[in-house]
């Protein structure tokens, strides 16, 4: 499970030559905890019994490995093979369960009894509440007040699972503010509490640790494609907010230089409007939440509020390994607007009978453009693999509003 890629961070958590991305820009009060976490995680990943337990839980409880599905009707639309890695079929409906089960298992190993988490769309919060229930841990989830309103269903799910959900109304009331509040809790409770970080961002070791707990997405997909088609895909694609599902997928293919890697960012109303969360496309280098990475900021270094129709992508930063991969050109990142994502959501529903998360719809939209180009140059045997990172139940309120659903007389433009 341990990665040996030359794209990895160094021992201090820096990616790239000269320590350009990542690191640990954190209050001194938390450094002992980060050191403790790094040591415990490193030791656990070298312990076959921990790995074995993690893999058994994923298999028996989380329904992993997830299926690889050839979307034939969608493929017909673009002219080449489109494959979907069905992380939406995991327990709790997203890739997030892999990461939190890993971190929660580590929490128990460290002898801590309480976990905290932040969440945007609620999927990480639901996964954290689920893992806490499964492993008998107390759980508190911080969620932006704006997000608690647009993701009320997931708030209810977390509460039913026994978690305390705290609405954060400081700042923009979204994911970044929930992260700030979770850090504040952690600095006061670090002796008995673990912070289950929700994405591959934050201070070292979180970007690498979250990637490693999610890398099964890529490792499984690579093996599944090889077994079924006898070769690697031409391109892989995932949505990128903080970027945990994307880095999990990418990790399996980074050393396969012939595989094109695409990350699709939330373009909101359009990057040119300024209302978006396309961090890599339109941001600049800076430090946020403990790491140097691309972020949306003004000329004074103040974080700029992001916007996305998807609460799960509405984050002004991004995991530092993505910044590194973008900087060196190993992965390409492009924005997808709210409108294009919603169009792809409807298209996938109509062609394949799959209602995906709006996050994943960004990947679908961007990947279909990539697939059309590949079909034109390489023909119908070209393969594009999309990580369908989550299911769309939680987003039905947004879909109802966007498409004007719920009225039997209306139709949806796909």
């Amino acid at each position: 499970m341990t990665s040996t890629s030359r794209y990895d961070a160094d021992d201090r958590g820096y990616f790239g030559e000269g320590g350009q991305w990542g690191g640990r820009f954190m209050p001194e009060a938390l450094l002992a905890a980060l050191d403790e976490l790094t040591a415990a995680w490193t030791e656990a990943m070298a312990d076959p019994s921990f790995i074995g337990e993690f893999e058994a839980i994923l298999r028996d409880y989380a329904n992993v490995p997830s299926a690889l599905y050839e979307a034939t009707r969608l493929s017909e639309q673009v002219g080449c093979r489109v494959l979907l890695k069905r992380e939406d079929l995991n327990h709790t409906g997203a890739h997030k369960i892999r990461n939190v089960l890993g971190q929660a298992l580590l929490t128990k190993r460290m002898g801590k009894k309480r976990v905290i988490a932040e969440t945007g769309a609620g999927q990480h919060g639901v996964a954290s509440a689920t893992a806490a229930a499964y492993l008998g841990l107390d759980c508190t989830v911080y969620m932006g007040a704006v997000d608690t309103r647009r993701q009320a269903l997931n708030v209810a799910r977390m509460q039913l699972l026994g978690a305390e959900v705290i609405a954060v109304d400081t700042g923009s009331g979204t994911l970044k503010d929930a992260i700030n509040e979770a850090f504040r809790d952690w600095v006061s409770s670090v002796d008995h509490t673990a912070y289950l970080f929700g994405t591959a961002a934050g201070p070292h070791p979180f970007p690498t640790m979250v990637r490693e707990f999610c890398r099964g997405i890529g490792d499984e997909a690579r093996a599944q494609v090889l077994e079924r088609y006898g070769r690697l895909p031409d391109a892989i694609a995932a949505c990128v907010g903080g970027g945990s599902n994307a880095i999990g997928l990418f990790a399996g293919f980074l050393d396969d230089e012939e595989v094109a890697i695409w990350g699709f960012e939330p373009g909101g109303d359009g990057v040119e409007t300024g209302r978006h969360a396309a961090t890599i496309t339109a941001g600049g280098s800076g430090v946020l939440h403990g790491a140097r990475t691309y972020l949306l900021q003004d000329e004074d270094g103040q974080t700029v509020e992001s916007h996305s129709i998807s609460a799960g992508l509405d984050y002004p930063g991004v995991g530092p390994q993505h910044s590194h991969l973008a900087h060196i050109g190993r992965a390409r990142y492009a924005p997808v607007t709210d409108a294009a994502a919603m169009e792809a959501m409807a298209l996938l529903a109509r062609t394949e009978g799959i209602i995906c998360a709006i996050e994943s719809a960004h990947a679908v939209s961007g990947a279909l453009d990539v697939a059309r180009e590949l079909a034109a140059t390489k023909g119908p045997e070209a393969i594009v693999l999309i990580n369908l990172s989550g299911r769309g139940d939680k987003d039905m309120g947004t879909a109802i509003e966007w498409f004007g659903l719920g009225d039997a007389q209306k139709d949806v433009e796909a």
Binding site: A29, D35, H289
Partner: protein, 274 residues
């Protein structure tokens, strides 16, 4: 300028120094300058000026509210430097306390140069530790600025030694595990941390140890002054101005009363710990 003479003077008077914090731009840029002048006049030995930041993870609700008010009113990094200039002109050592990204965005070398030109004494960096602060350490040394790093109750002895060795001016001991904010009682973690910060610093360094987080009145200041070289107060000053609302005169009067109370507290501390 450095904070060192202020600590030496306090030490010669057998007491701890009083270090007062207020964010720049709160309640507005000239209002902050007026307030900081009152704090100097009423007994602060060292001033910390906060650079308002959008994501202050170490701050509690009081300071975050003030910083947000400053940002909403348009406070810029250049306003912070102008505020430093206005306060440093009084002769009181004036530091900036800032999260890292605004400095990096402004340009580390440029920030150090402009801070020094404004008469600033140095920088307190809550989210930069010495082992992640190469760029700042180089710039600060080039411009003869204080580097005030933090130690915490959770810091290992190795980290306390590393941090005190890298600090100049004083080392900032966070007295509790938590964010900023006035507390009804001071922490029992502070005394042992100060002892460690003194014992583990380089031999003959005599680096003063300031204790922050939680002090809100003269009695608490006296308790901390009994064992620390400096008593750092922030949220309590901010609270007086928040409570006064739009009545600026009442806010400044309350600020003066509080500062005098705290200044008396550090003077009746058990011979100052210095």
């Amino acid at each position: 300028m450095s904070t060192t003479p202020a600590f030496e003077r306090a030490r010669s008077e057998g007491r701890a120094a009083l270090i007062g914090y207020l964010p720049a731009g709160f309640p507005d840029v000239p209002g902050a300058v007026d307030a900081l002048h009152v704090m100097v006049d009423a007994g602060c030995d060292v001033i910390e000026i906060g650079l308002p930041y959008s994501d202050p993870v170490m701050d509690g609700p009081t300071i975050q509210a003030a910083a947000q008010q400053a940002l909403d009113a348009g406070c810029r990094t250049t306003d912070v430097l102008r505020t430093v200039e206005a306060v440093a002109a009084t002769g009181t050592p004036t530091l900036v306390m800032t999260y890292w990204n605004p400095v990096e965005r402004y340009g580390v070398e440029r920030f150090a140069a402009d801070l020094a030109s404004a008469g600033g004494a140095g920088l307190i960096t809550p989210d930069i530790t010495p082992d992640a602060g190469d760029a700042w350490i180089a710039a600060a040394d080039a411009h003869d600025l204080d580097k005030v790093f933090l130690v915490a109750p959770s810091s290992t002895d190795e980290r306390v030694a590393m941090t005190t060795a890298a600090s100049r001016g004083f080392v900032y001991a966070t007295a509790v595990m938590g964010v900023t904010g006035a507390r009804t009682t001071t922490s029992d973690l502070a005394g042992p941390l100060v002892t460690r910060a003194r014992a583990l610093q380089p031999k003959d360094a005599h680096l003063p140890v300031g204790v922050g987080l939680g002090v809100s009145n003269g009695d608490q200041a006296a308790v901390v002054a009994a064992y620390a070289d400096g008593v750092i107060v922030g949220s309590a000053f901010v609270r007086t101005l928040l409570d006064a609302g739009t009545d600026r005169a009442a806010g400044l009067a309350a600020l003066r009363t509080l500062t005098e109370d705290l200044a008396a507290g550090v003077r009746r501390g058990d011979a100052g710990g210095a």
